[in-house]
Amino acid sequence: MTKVGIAVFPGSNCDRDVHHVLNNVVGLQADFIWHTKDRISGYDAMIVPGGFAFGDRLRAGIIAAHSPIVSEIKRMARDGTPVLGICNGFQILVESGLLPGALMMNDSLRFVCRWTKVKVQNNETPFTSEFSKRQEFDIPVAHGEGRYMVDSKLLKDLKKNNQIVLQYSNDDPNGSVSLIAAVCNEDGNVMGMMPHPERASEPIISATGKNDAITIFKSLADYLKGK
């Protein structure tokens, strides 16, 4: 039986939501792992959920990036384990150096919580393999610092290496470079995304009634099954 670990930091607040969706909706076994854990074994994928780890003090994600569990996540990532960071989790992965770029304050200078649409640009990652290329789907964002920034050289590299996984479809909530909503590392096994797939995986709580975002987790389940 494959197992997914959910990293929990003081201040994580989407951990329970991801846990619910994986266990009760997708049917993947997922467990919480507290941030002080310095040896992780028996987990086939890791998810770093959203929230305000360490209260976003100093800078979103920076303190968590130096915690024992992130050292472990780095090791697992090197070994090819799929790692997904959502919202604050994306910020943590960026701060830990697992993903390129930076996440800045939204161009509105305000927190924004609303539904938007994203388009799949890379459907060859463990989290997007079940999407068709350029497929659009509905998903909400909720963040104050979600404006993805890279310089023009790095942007070129990202494009060349097919590291831009999701882009906002015209309806840009935060001012990200090239409408980037999700990126992956060069190997494709580590992905960070600002929108919240766990909030769009069940029709009952979807603003549009559609739950195509669940394909993020279903792709992962499929990937782990085939491993």
Binding site: P10, G11, N13, C14, R16, D17, H20, V21, W34, G50, G51, F52, F54, G55, D56, R57, R110, F111, V112, C113, R114, P140, A142, G144, H196, E198, R199, E202, I204, I205, A207
Partner: protein, 719 residues
């Protein structure tokens, strides 16, 4: 600062049969403040109907507890943070959220939603825009960080809030019935203070809130730390789950003074504490400062020697600081030591129960002067009036506000802000809660009794429109100085209204709060009771939104009367304050609501919305905007006793619902059988909002125009 009145001090010393020392006076002064003691209101609050078949714990504890079946409970509480928010809007509003969340945690339940009801002066008045902006940001930053969704509320603008604001925050909790904190203590049990360090912030906060706002007293405002509260929340939930606490009490107004005396009194056990053990922000704090500091994010746990290792382990996991203050004792006193000396020793019951004040009530003279107003002339262009009402900040879209709130965290938010009349939260796969806050200071000023009935009626309509059965209300009663008999009379009228409404509807009052002294040098606020209504939905198929659906036949349930007093139309457009406010007929109110619930249960309703601020015309436009559709409605068909078109369009008569349906014959039959006043008035069609009268055009506006006006608040705030 003299806090106790001379007669209160005499009463205290008479009971003690000795002089009260300064620390004792400070402790009692905090606890006997209006804010903590309810000394003006308590006699009246006892009149409220608080019992019901679902009510497990009524008002009195930190939050009311409602049995929702299958071993689960909902908890609900409402608080305000008006004075602090008026001087320091960010911190005041944020700590208001923190306080009400801790009340929910204290019952052993996890907070699953926050709602807020906000009142400001019009945005072009003095510092109103600044207050509005920072209050919203304070609520957003606190709720977002702690991960509790802010799912709904309401906002009203009125000149009576100039240089001031009302910030009411309600929270809902959900938990297991068996984990509800039993609140008991045995002799020798340990008192553990956990969380934030105690400092000199928020000194005299409760007393500050118990007087008119005279000067900026920033040191009385507490400092928010949502991250710390999040740790406290998770630690409390783990402690409850592992059964290692016997009682919990949060620290709010009055700090340790109120927390210790009330808990000791409630549990029927004396407390012996040493405040030298309190983990403090700074050294050298006096005994009185330690006792009345309102530093935030603090909780008191009662546990025993057997359970404390487990509790310590949990607190250590979250790196929370804590102090073991002392023990529960066999006597009935609160004995406070500071290191070696006893600084206070008084019966807890005496401290926890202020002598009640006798307030005089007298019908205010102003009521007569605004009873009759000259009818304004009907404007030639009613379309223009409609657009101006849609752009009035009280009515306009609150998107600028709710998009700053994370309203989705927790994966429970089924109906989100803007979707419907109330927020709907998923409790289980087929169980949902609907919740809404409603206030109307304009109606309540002109007629506090009918105005308050109206708030309750609106709350009931709001949850009914989502398909929910109303099961409980919370009240937040906000007035100016209760020592002014004319102010106090308006308070008693509000109480009478709640008693009458809730008795008739058989909806219990499960919690509440009273806030007096809401006034500044500019004068008193208008009477501003805010009612929170909670409903339950037992089937996801019943969940109903407000947006029109293509091809809907549109019905109105209820009678429209020329009750224009306090309406947005009179106040905003004609600048008239006065006249006859809408009157609630309890029987009709119940019948209409039940009829709509019946239609929803029968699967006949595709959308529903109540008529409230701005009347029928605004309600239909809101449904059109939410549904991305137009409509054609003949106002001649609207059941009414009005003489003029503007009255039919903009009257705010209560007990009215607008519904859309795909099966007009069946709806007609059901409503006829229910014996309610109703009519089929039009259709959802096209891209325009069209009102006609016997075929002749009255108003014709494109939806684009409606949307542009409706977005005016967002434009003002982004500017």
């Amino acid at each position: 600062m003299a806090i106790l009145t001379d007669s209160e001090l005499a009463y205290l010393e008479g009971k003690l049969q000795r002089k009260a020392n300064e620390v004792e006076q400070d402790i009692v002064g905090a606890e006997w403040s209006e804010h903590c003691s309810y000394k003006s209101s308590k006699k009246y609050l006892r009149l409220l109907p608080t019992k019901g078949k679902r009510v497990l714990v009524g008002p009195g504890y930190d939050a009311g507890v409602i049995d929702v079946g299958d071993g689960h409970v909902l908890t609900i509480h409402i608080e305000s943070h008006n004075h602090p928010s008026a001087v320091e809007p960010y911190g005041g509003a944020a700590t208001g959220v923190g306080g009400v969340i801790r009340d929910i945690m204290s019952m052993g339940t996890r907070p699953i939603a926050v709602l807020d009801a906000l009142r400001f002066a019009p945005l072009d008045k003095s510092n109103s825009k600044w207050l509005f902006k920072h209050v919203v940001r304070g609520i957003a930053d606190y709720g977002n960080c702690i991960g509790i969704p802010t799912v709904g509320g309401e906002i009203e603008f009125d000149p009576s809030f100039e240089d001031y604001c009302l910030v009411d925050v309600a929270s809902i909790g959900y938990g297991k019935k068996e984990e509800i904190i039993s609140n008991r203590a045995d002799v020798g049990d340990l008192l553990v203070l956990a969380g934030g360090s105690t400092g000199r912030d928020g000194i005299h906060g409760a007393s500050f809130a118990s007087r008119a706002l005279e000067a900026e007293n920033r040191s009385a405002v507490q400092i928010p730390d949502p991250f710390l509260e999040k740790l406290l929340l998770e630690a409390t939930m783990e402690a409850v789950q592992q059964g290692c606490v016997k009682a919990i009490k949060d620290l709010g107004g009055g700090g340790l003074s109120c927390c210790l005396s009330e808990t000791s009194d409630n549990l029927g056990r004396g407390f012996e504490v040493d405040i030298g053990t309190v983990h403090a922000k700074e050294s050298g704090m006096s005994s009185a400062e330690l006792m009345i500091s309102e530093s935030q994010e603090r909780m008191l746990y009662v546990t025993d020697a057997e359970k404390i290792p487990k509790l310590k382990k949990i607190l250590d996991k979250y790196e929370l600081r804590y102090s073991i203050l002392g023990k529960a004792a066999g006597h009935q006193n609160l004995i406070v030591r500071h290191n070696d000396s006893v600084v206070a020793d008084m019966p807890s019951e005496l401290v926890a129960h202020a002598p009640l004040a006798d307030r005089q009530a007298k019908r205010p003279a102003y009521l007569d002067s605004i009873k009759n107003v000259r009818q304004p002339r009907q404007p030639a262009d009613l379309g223009k009036v409609l657009l101006s009402l849609l752009s009035s900040p009280t009515i306009a879209s609150k998107r600028w506000v709710y998009q700053q709130y994370d309203h989705e965290v927790g994966v429970r938010t089924v109906l989100k802000p803007g979707d419907a009349d109330a927020a709907v939260l998923r409790l289980e796969d087929n169980k949902f809660a609907a919740v809404k806050l409603d206030g109307n200071s304009k109606h309540c000023y002109i007629d506090p009794y009918q105005g308050t009935l109206g708030c309750l009626s609106e709350g009931r309509r709001n949850v009914v429109c989502t398909g929910a059965d109303p099961v409980g209300v919370v009240d937040h009663l906000q007035f100016a100085n209760p020592e002014d008999p004319e102010v106090f009379w308006t308070f008693t009228q509000a109480i009478n209204a709640i008693v009458d409404y809730c008795n008739f509807m058989e909806i219990p009052v499960v919690g509440g709060k009273v806030s007096f002294y809401n006034e500044t040098a500019k004068g008193p606020i208008k009477p501003s009771p805010v009612m929170g209504t909670l409903g339950l939905i037992d089937d996801s198929a019943k969940i109903t939104r407000s947006g029109l659906k293509k091809g809907d036949s549109i019905f109105i349930v209820g009678q429209t009367a020329p009750e224009m007093g306090g309406s947005e139309y009179y106040e905003q457009h004609h600048k008239i304050t006065g006249g006859q406010v809408p009157v609630v007929d309890l029987k009709t109110d119940k019948k209409n609501g039940d009829a709509v619930l019946g239609l929803i249960a029968a699967g006949l309703v595709s959308c529903a919305h109540d008529c409230s601020k701005g009347g029928l015309a605004v309600a239909l436009c809101e449904m059109a905007i939410a549904g991305n559709l137009g409509f054609k409605v003949d106002i001649k068909k609207v059941p009414n006793s009005c003489k003029r078109s503007d009255e039919v369009l903009f009257s705010e008569s209560h007990s009215r619902y607008i519904i859309g349906t795909k099966d007009p014959e069946q709806v007609e039959k059901s409503l006829t059988d229910a014996g309610v006043v109703f009519a089929q008035i039009g259709k959802a069609v096209g891209i325009k909002a069209e009102f006609t009268k016997s075929g002749k055009p009255v108003v014709g506006l494109t939806r684009l125009k409606l949307e542009s006006s409706f977005a005016s608040l967002e434009k003002t705030m982004n500017h």
